[in-house]
């Protein structure tokens, strides 16, 4: 019957306590002592007894957990003797498992007193749960334990997002030029590398073959090596080795410095972009897709780095290599050099001819890429809706369109590029064969040059291939990176629409009086959302704002906390225009509890104390209590230290809302804005939150937006906004009595639906 059989030793020990193997009905291992040490043990249940076996383990024991792999070390499974406690089942009752943060405790009532029967880690939680459930059933009929499981789902959104200008290039370059030291090192290594590249063919061709192997007396004599051929050879060999070594060393330094320089400069660029983004007003985020911004900054900065690190320096290196190589070639033998150059115009012609086609195709691909990632982004972020409406097949269908366009564009580019590459290589191959043929004729027939010179020449021509190829594709990289840089600068240069006044007025201990005069505002010019709003809100007053969806309620409160600036008219707090107030003072004194609360990555305590770093623990607990949040926080295993937000523990909508209320309570603002503060919670939670809010609004000027009109029954005054204007104003009672009024209509509607709900 028992799933996990007991060891012989354990069975023997039980036998000593008069419990036979066949008596045992239920068994589960246990692994903790009540004083918090690992032990080995079992809990065994017979028809009339409960026995607990426990064995202390020596320090050398290796404790194995589920799915772990036993090592090679010898493990004595049972190094000691079991201690046994036996309880008569009839003396016990109320078995219960309590799960704590690091342990589980099985307790029961034994002779009228609660005792700890056994303790265990999560390793055996499942088995114990089963055992206890069966035991309870056995004890009295049909009581079942309930286990809870929490599933966490994660959503990810992916998104990606082209003109070129010299100024962008220069500006990006500045980010790199800041690090002059690193750049100097980099240039130095390029020079070393470049000169070694040029020295190598000369050393292996002309010097080795024509001078040393030919035993050129003039040449050797210059170095005092006349006649010492062996030594000269050795020196040339060493020189060759040294050149290779220098190349390797400078390469190593180059890569190291480049990695450092690129990451630092790109970090600066990213920081500037993020810094700028955080200063921008809300409307920027409304106009651009926020999700895409993030990936845009990251992927664009990558592309910029690619060019500035892999591309730009190489332009100089390869450019210089080409020029110097040609000069040397001409000095060695101008006829041969001319032959090597003869096909160059063809290369230039090809480049000029074929490039534009590639540009056009690249643009096509870019647009196709955008369409594909846009579509993918849509589908991933809207996965819930897509699935809920059973639109998977249709979405796949819709996706395949842009997807095959992208495929076609890629194929076209590959085709053209291949054509280009083949032609290019062909020209290069032809010119090197050309050199060989001409060279052999020069060496054998006309004796114009020596063998070494020919080898040197071929070496140079081959060496030119790399740089030439490089120039063939570097321009693409250049345009890519300029496009990316431009987009980054677009963010960096975006001017925050909400700017602090030159000499902002400080707002110390405000009274909290708000006055709106002739306020007109619209997100787009010529389409006002709010028209000519005039209202005075007295100190400590609670104003309820009512209206249909889209009437402009949220817009109105956003204007007060200056998330947007008014188009016409003015908003004054304590008689000072909000445009003249210091932004930090304003934000500190106006707190918003809104329908979408944002939880930052961090602990619960840090989230509550957001914007209020000096808050003590006692303050945080007090605020949490007032927000009816203390209870659920205490229940979290890690209490106030629980990490929440992205990748942390998931909180429910109501829990998040209560944390944001606690945040507002702690901030202790003079003006409080409640924007559908209880929208996403159930009725019971709403009651708890209402309770907290009732406290919160005391002594503060409050603006409350609510769909559920019952939430506004405590408001001193109500306004009804319709079509961007205040159409009704007064106490709840006054508004209720306006025949045909909007408030009355809304109220009647809600009462009716409530009555309907009550009937069901």
């Amino acid at each position: 019957m028992a799933d996990l059989t007991l060891t012989q030793k354990a069975l023997r020990t039980l036998k000593d306590s008069h419990i036979g193997e066949n008596d045992i009905i239920l068994v589960s291992p246990v692994d903790l002592s009540s004083d918090g040490k690992y032990i080995k043990g079992y809990l065994a249940v017979t028809s009339d007894k409960v026995a607990v076996l426990s064995m202390e383990l020596p320090d050398s024991t290796v404790h194995l957990f589920r799915n772990s792999r036993p090592g090679d070390e010898y493990i004595d499974e049972e190094p000691g003797e079991y201690e046994v406690s036996v309880y008569e089942l009839k003396d016990t009752a109320h078995y219960r498992i309590d799960s704590f943060v690091g342990s589980n405790v099985l307790s029961a009532e034994y002779k009228g007193e609660y005792i700890t029967v056994a303790a265990f880690t999560n390793r055996y939680q499942e088995q114990m749960n089963v055992l206890v459930r069966k035991l309870r059933n056995y004890l009295h009929g049909s009581e079942l334990a309930v286990e809870e499981e929490v599933a966490v789902e994660e959503d990810k959104d992916v998104s990606k997002s082209g003109k070129s200008q010299r100024s962008i290039f220069g500006r990006t370059l500045k980010y790199f030029l800041k690090y002059k030291g690193l750049i100097a090192v980099l240039i130095f290594t390029y020079i070393i590398n470049g000169s070694m590249n040029i020295a190598w063919p000369y050393l292996t061709g002309t010097v080795l073959f024509d001078r040393v192997l030919e035993a050129d007396k003039d040449f050797l004599g210059r170095f005092g090596l006349a006649g010492k051929l062996g030594l000269a050879l050795l020196i040339v060999a060493l020189a060759m080795l040294l050149v290779r070594f220098m190349q390797a060393l400078s390469n190593y330094i180059q890569i190291y410095v480049m990695a450092k320089l690129s990451s630092t400069a790109i970090r600066d660029l990213k920081n500037d972009a993020f810094d700028s983004m955080s200063r921008l007003s809300l409307s920027f985020y409304v106009n651009k897709q926020t999700g895409g911004l993030m990936t845009r900054v990251l992927s664009d900065s990558d592309r910029v780095r690619n060019f500035f690190i892999d591309g730009l320096p190489m332009i100089f290196v390869h450019g210089i290599t080409i020029v110097v190589t040609f000069i040397i070639m001409f000095r060695l033998n101008w006829k041969m050099a001319l032959l090597a150059c003869i096909l160059l115009p063809l290369l230039v012609f090809m480049t000029v001819k074929l490039r534009p086609g590639l540009w056009i195709l690249a643009g096509k691909r870019h647009r196709a890429e955008k369409a594909v990632s846009g579509k993918a982004n849509d589908n991933l972020t809207g996965a819930r809706v897509v699935k809920a409406f059973g639109q998977q097949d249709e979405e796949i269908e819709k996706f395949s369109g842009p997807s095959s366009k992208l495929r076609d564009a890629e194929i076209d580019i590959a085709k053209l590029r291949n054509k280009f590459a083949i032609l290019y290589n062909l020209v290069q191959e032809v010119s090197s064969i050309w050199i060989w043929i001409a060279g052999v004729i020069f060496v054998l027939k006309t004796h114009e040059i020596e063998l070494g010179v020919l080898i040197t020449f071929v070496g140079y021509v081959m060496q030119l291939n790399g740089p030439m190829n490089f120039f063939a594709w570097v321009f693409r990289m250049w345009s890519d990176s300029i496009n990316s840089a431009e987009r980054l600068f677009e963010i960096i240069d975006a001017i925050p629409e909400i700017r602090e006044a030159e000499n902002p007025v400080e707002l110390r201990s405000p009274r909290g009086e708000i006055e709106l005069s002739n306020v007109t505002f619209g997100y787009q010019v010529g389409r006002p959302i709010l028209k000519d709003i005039n209202i005075r809100i007295k100190e400590g007053e609670m104003l309820g704002i009512v209206g249909r969806s889209g009437a402009g309620k949220s817009t109105l409160v956003n204007l007060i906390s200056r998330l947007y600036d008014v188009n016409e008219g003015s908003i004054k707090i304590d008689g000072t225009d909000v445009k003249n107030l210091s932004l930090s003072d304003l934000r500190r004194n106006v707190a918003m509890v809104s329908q979408d609360t944002y939880i930052f990555m961090g602990s619960v305590a840090k989230n509550i104390a957001y914007g209020n770093e000096n808050a003590s623990r006692a303050d945080i607990i007090r605020a949490a209590k007032l927000a009816s949040a203390h209870e659920f926080i205490s229940r979290l295993p890690d209490g106030y230290d629980t990490i929440i937000g992205a990748s942390g523990k998931d909180l429910s909508g109501g829990e998040k809302q209560r944390i944001s209320i606690a945040r507002a309570i702690l901030a202790n603002p003079k003006i409080l804005i409640l924007d559908e503060a209880t929208a996403s919670v159930d009725t019971q939670t709403e009651k708890a939150i209402r309770h907290s809010l009732e406290y919160l609004v005391q002594g503060r000027t409050t603006l409350s937006i609510a769909h559920r009109l019952s939430t506004l029954k405590d408001a001193d005054r109500l306004i009804v906004i319709d079509g961007g204007r205040i159409v009704e104003e007064g106490t709840e009672e006054e508004l209720r009595n306006i025949e045909g009024g909007i408030y009355k209509t809304l109220l009647d509607l809600q009462n009716k639906s409530m009555a309907l709900n009550a009937e069901f």
Binding site: S68, P70, F100, S107, Y114, I643
Partner: protein, 178 residues
């Protein structure tokens, strides 16, 4: 009139936030069954629970003392355990030791990762342990730059107090999770 309503709300708020501070005067005792009982403001609580409100940032401050059952209602808060009588400190620490049982890893012998699981072999203050974690789940929580909580497949917790105190070899093994 307005003053009155303000008072009413103040009162309500006080009730809601009413935090009973449990200080030295109140007596905790151990029951025969090994549980804690508390006499507080004339009531006797035969069995109580102790919850750390800041288990990581300050484990011995702000301990919430709760009833057992009855919705686990909070009886009060011990602001600082070190200010309690020695007996109480001993009793509560004993309970917390079991409730927050978390072996502290002081040496990493090996970490192998395969098919989405990582197999740890470590030395802890409670003895040598081998356990497995699921790499896909949030098995490793960074409490700070240097402090980690690692949860095995059964959510058993292991703690690394300070990764800077590990050898560079051990840190390299951990790199996968940092």
């Amino acid at each position: 009139m307005a003053e009155d309503t303000l008072n009413i709300y103040e009162k309500k708020a006080e009730e809601m936030t009413a935090t009973n501070m449990i200080t030295k005067e109140y007596r905790f005792s151990k029951t025969k069954g090994g549980f804690l009982s508390l006499e507080f403001e004339g009531s006797t609580y035969p069995r109580i629970r102790v919850v750390r409100l800041f288990p990581f940032s300050d484990e011995n401050k702000y301990l919430s003392i709760r009833e057992y059952g009855n919705g686990d209602k909070e009886i009060g808060i011990i602001e600082d355990l070190s200010l309690m009588s020695e007996d109480t400190q001993k009793l509560i620490s004993e309970q917390l030791k079991l409730y927050y049982f978390t072996p502290v890893i002081n040496k990493i012998l090996s970490i192998k990762d395969e098919y989405g699981y990582a197999y740890f072999h470590v030395k802890t203050d409670k003895g040598e342990c081998r356990f497995a974690i699921n790499m896909g789940a949030n098995a490793v929580t960074k409490l700070s730059d240097t402090r980690l909580i690692i949860k095995d497949v059964d959510e058993n917790r292991f703690e690394i107090k300070d990764i800077d105190e590990l050898t560079s070899k051990e840190r390299r093994m951990l790199d996968l999770f940092l």
